[in-house]
Amino acid sequence: MKPSLALPALLLVLAGPAHGAADPETVARGKYLAAAGDCVACHTAPDGRPYAGGRAVESPFGDIYSSNITPDRKFGIGDYSLEDFSRAVRLGVRKDGAQLYPAMPYPSYAKISDADIAALYAFFMNGIEAVPQAAPKTALAWPFSMRWGVKFWNWAFAPEGVSAHAEAPDPLGRGRYLVESLGHCGSCHTPRGLAFQEKGYGADDEHFLAGAEIGGWPTPSLRAGGSGRGLPQWSEDDIVEFLATGRNRFGAVVGEMELVITHSTSQLTEADNRAIATFLKSLPAHADTSAAAPAAAPDTAQRLTAAKVDVNSGERLYLDNCNACHFVDGKGAPPAFPPLAGNTLVEAESPSGVIHVILSGARLPSTPRAPSDIAMPNFDWRLSDDEVAKIASFVRSSWGNRGDAVTADQVAKIRKEIGKVKPSAAPDVK
């Protein structure tokens, strides 16, 4: 079923260019749903005005700039009717008929219910300030510059319409609706196919949320059911805590997910986060991530506390740079300092995430439930590629972790991608 554009008559009252008087309750609901959809993360430039667009979303085809979705009539979507809005969000078609690139997760948003679309529309028309400013134009190279080509992509990959679970009263159904539609978790966590499509858009597909890599960061599998390493070890409470605070006893958020925690999941009700957790726990983990965890290796702590640690070894570099917070047992001190032992980022198949964090540092988002924005300093100015590789190799293979060794070349490549050295943690030498 394709998204229904035949909206109930009642909701059409809200439509039309004179979008003055939506009731405050609907606007508030729309605001909440916009948070669930994390619209602000992509539609706000770094240090820009909210929803005014201009953030570059990286894709293999080039940077795609988000649009201004404030109710400004010239630069934003102020002249969109409810129907125009619905087509843009759920089908990826602009008011002028042009096709949006699927960096806008309309294949997921297609599942948003009519009522929720109407509430979102009420919020975007009445709940935010119009920003009269043009977002930068996206200019992909040929053939991707031909937006009409996306229509064939849609024909091939865009999924079916409104979720059957949109009005689900039970946590499992509610969680499924949030994850598959507004949450668009699959955008980052579902592996992509040759045409850059997500290999699965719903719980029925085994590829759905099975983990991927995006923008140089490995994204863990969110299939939290069954047993094994990674999310299957997290309880429902652990998932809820992570979504609300960006931290729990297994780790702390890094990379793009930080924006998701800040603007989206930390703003959701406990009940909705619990519904998401219930749904994720219902997805069976794949065999390759659910192999029995190896017995913990206590010898790491012993090696680190032994007086004889080679001066150029990973052990010694760990002691001098990491041990103050993460400790010899690799357990850290959550919720202040995340553990490295069993940390999904540290032992991910791809070492790019852990290399990234060592070089650039990381900062926890401040959320209503956990306002402490605890930061790990950047070590790019202090450690050579070889030293970072040694530390990364050490933490990926210690305390029972099972990551492969890292080479200095891998570090050099990521250092180049990150760009300029951040001087923040370097001592002042004057």
Partner: protein
Amino acid sequence: MARQEKPVDIVMIGLGWTNAIMGMELASTGLSILALERGEDRDTMPDFVYPRMADELSYGVRYKLMVRPSDNTQTIRHSPKDTAVPYRVLGSYLPGTGVGGSGVHWNGHTWRPLEEEFRLRSYVTETFGAKTIPEGMTIADYPVSYDELEADFDMFERVAGISGKAGNINGRIQEGGNPFEAPRSGEYPMPPLKRTYNDVLFDEAAKAMGFHPFPLPAANASQAYTNPYGLTLGPCNFCGYCERYGCINYSKSSPQVCILPLLKRQPNFSYRTRADVIRIDLDKARKRAVGVTYLDENDEEVFQPADLVILGSYSINNVRLMMLSGIGEIYDPAKNTGTLGRNYAYQMNGGYTLFFKDKYFNPFIGAGGNGQCMDDFAISRIDFAKEGFIGGSYINAAMTHGQPIRSLPLPSGSPSWGSGWKKAAQEWYGHVMTVGSHGSNMAYRDCYLDLDPTYTDRHGLPLLRMTFDWKDNDVRMTQFMKNRLKPLMDSMGADVVQAAFKEPGAHYDIRPYQTTHNVGGTVMGHDPKTSVLNRYLQSWEVHNLFVMGASAFPQNLQYNPTGLVGALAYWSARAIREDYLKNPRPLVGA
């Protein structure tokens, strides 16, 4: 003509511990709150981050986090007969500046005063007779009791996240804690820090002589901890860079770690840095504050209108700002008139250094609040009539750091340079522990603060003048400690035992570091004739002005002041929130 900013409901001067507390406790009123901080903005990342902080020369020796004397200092003299000269090089005390204030660079010793200290004058008079108080000593009771503040001490300890062991919970003495402390309603939020070798040695020796040792109450987290505001501290790793440094590890309690991340989320709170307040402005009748005037980073004068002013800068700066604003009458010791600047007091400290050839302490494993204490010579446990002084000390075997420039104590007589010094340094580094006596300091008629007639700051405003010297009473107190501790020190088996206590006739020396516990000058009291603030820290003169901090202490405690400073801020905030804002007026009838 000063630039004028948009009015706010509440303006706070300074953004250290007290105004961070005040901001948080008043944010729920929905009133607009603006903090003006004279120094720079500071946060753990990027300002205190590892390994930048482990730079003893910049921070420990050159005082990078402290106020620069060229920006703001005091003139100092020993007596009203002398001419005061400026404190041009920091030494004796180290006022902080910047967001977090001195709450960034402290060690974290967090005490509750004794019940007797709150009613010191009454206690001495009732117990030993009025004649025990010598001529010229101007000690007073606090206008608030320990019982009234107990809940506020508890709140501050839970917000700051204190590691310790209670010795008295609701009157029941607890094994391992301080049996002489005032009764607490509950345990400390965290267990004590891990014990170091000096702690263990002192503990054993003190117990063997019948004393009652216990772990120092430390604002250094012994484990991961989440406070009542939902803010998180990480466990202290004993890095040994605590006092004079910002904490690299979210382990030392500070406004940055314990309050500001939540305060900054409040939509009705904002702050400006590099906003140096030079005056609290009053209405024509001089009964109401109408705002404050500050100099911004370009030295442009700015008027900030506000309905309520909370003065929470460093204690001696509070006193100066009141004087520059002309609020109240400056104290004159000759005529004994005025209250502003009266009862300035300091801290009488001494200590033993013990050198052991056969013991090695790993001194670089240190924490600001690492120490084993005893309170057997507390104010409440000394017969003042018999001993001939008023006061007391807590005893502290601390090991806070082994930083190379400043922690190479050598036995006296060791060469101070060349190969002889090198040999001695090699022989003794790490073989030393100290036992300190941290003592009270009474208030006196001729120890006070006023404005200097000669010296001004770079804006042409008069510097604060400090008139202060040691008095026989307090020297006798510290000599008592020296003598009583001697047998205990001798019992510990050290090869060399060295004492450093003020001797009779000693004068205040501003050069060596002693303590940043400058108190008094805007003291709180029952009587507006002898105090500046009432029991809610509200100005007697201007009822919409409240003054935080240790400048309210009528004399100094035997303990570090921050515990009481924090509790008084919570106490005052409650009075403002629940009473004053509903009906702004003097909360105590004068």
